[in-house]
Symmetry: C2
Subunit: 250 residues, 2 copies
């Protein structure tokens, strides 16, 4: 008999972890939940996440799946969050659990993702947001930034916005459906949605747009960066702690 | 010559402090800033806050004042936040500094205050809000809660909503101008504004309204609690970490 495949929606504060993935040094969120699964179901299993968030990056709804022999599932699926939450620290919460088809794959079935990035724009940081928003003290040109966001929407080659990885063998073309900038008082929120993301692509986009706001680049420069496909020509990578994996689409 | 009186607006994450006030045991926020003032201005001085927030309570804009001999102020007042922020941990931030008249008093000149209280209403807590919202997992009757808020607006005797203090010698009459409940997805926010607050009064009001939402009390019970003036008849005290001192009016 097929094992049962379970899908989890997981929220976490990434501050105290070395990212999602099981690490050689330091603790990954994946590992913490795998241990909880092992405690609750007496089964060693791999938890497959939709994305590998970096150290310090947060999630509102990371999606992950794992398999369990049917005889080991001795509770209604709706009780799984409560059971697993009793075994993980309070900076990780299982928000939902569902049984899914055996061909569902958290990573390969994903059709798209939404990330949100927060910036606190005031001379002093908000202490309650210190681990989840990037503090940018300088005055920013919001107009220019909004103009800049437009260049990132559509099917583009984002090679210039991918960090530290060798993409020579694979395509760096991705499609973004949204790149939006919202302002609520001192808090700026970027909403970035696309079919896929290269390594540190979101943070590269946000860092570059912030530098447009600081007058370091013009909106036209972005077009040139995209065309040149050279990471060195694009802007800075925004720090990890402002980023939240908000939603995964299937 | 008169000393110069300086007014500060201070934001803090109260998680790691024993409240605002200088403590015999544990660290008060007041003390941390007094030390910073002493480091920067070479002057031992008392910092007078508008309110004494409890352990775990946060502030977006606590107002406080202190006096400084004029010859010790060797920087523009606008640079004071940056100078003091270099001397305090990042869960405390001086957001603003202004010179004020010598008869201004952070506490006695205050005409009113606004507090905000956050509740996360879902079966699992949001890890990013775990230190700043109260987790209430049960379904709540929002209608009944909105009805309940109305009883707290106006000039009332709030004796039943003050904790652990002997108010026999002083009036327990206060006037609330607002007691409002907002809902954004799973997050409920109480906005409570008044000319003054008794000890733990805000948290008593919120705890009682939540219990109305859980069906433990009716809206009419609140009227009875207010009339009886007996703390034992009112509802529970909501936990400290959901509360933020939002604004002080002068």
């Amino acid at each position: 008999m097929n094992p049962i495949r379970l899908k989890l929606a997981i929220a976490y504060d990434g501050t105290n972890y070395q990212g999602w993935q099981v690490q050689k040094v330091g603790l990954g969120i994946q590992e913490v939940i795998e241990r909880a699964i092992s405690n609750i179901f007496q089964e060693q299993t791999r938890l497959h996440g939709s994305s590998r968030t970096d150290t310090g990056v947060h999630a509102r709804a990371m999606i992950a799946h794992f398999d369990l022999p049917r005889e080991k599932l001795k509770m209604p699926v709706s009780k799984i969050p409560l059971a697993l939450n009793s075994q993980v620290p309070d900076d990780i919460r299982i928000m939902e659990a569902h049984a899914v088809a055996n061909d569902f794959h958290a990573r390969f079935s994903a059709k798209g993702k939404q990330y949100r990035y927060s910036v606190y724009n005031y001379h002093a940081h908000d202490p309650l947001l210190r681990n989840r928003a990037w503090h940018v003290p300088q005055k920013l040109d919001l107009e220019a930034m909004r103009e800049a966001t437009k260049h990132f929407v559509g099917k583009r080659d984002y090679a210039a916005f991918a960090n530290n990885r060798n993409y020579e063998m694979e395509s760096t073309v991705r499609t973004l459906h949204r790149c939006e900038l919202r302002k609520q008082g001192r808090l700026l929120t970027f909403i970035i949605e696309g079919d896929g993301f290269l390594y540190k692509m979101c943070r590269g986009i946000v860092g570059t747009i912030i530098q447009v706001g600081q007058g370091r680049f013009s909106s036209k420069d972005i077009e040139r960066m995209l065309e040149a496909r050279d990471r060195r020509l694009a802007g800075m990578t925004a720090p990890a702690h402002g980023l939240v994996l908000w939603k995964v689409f299937y």
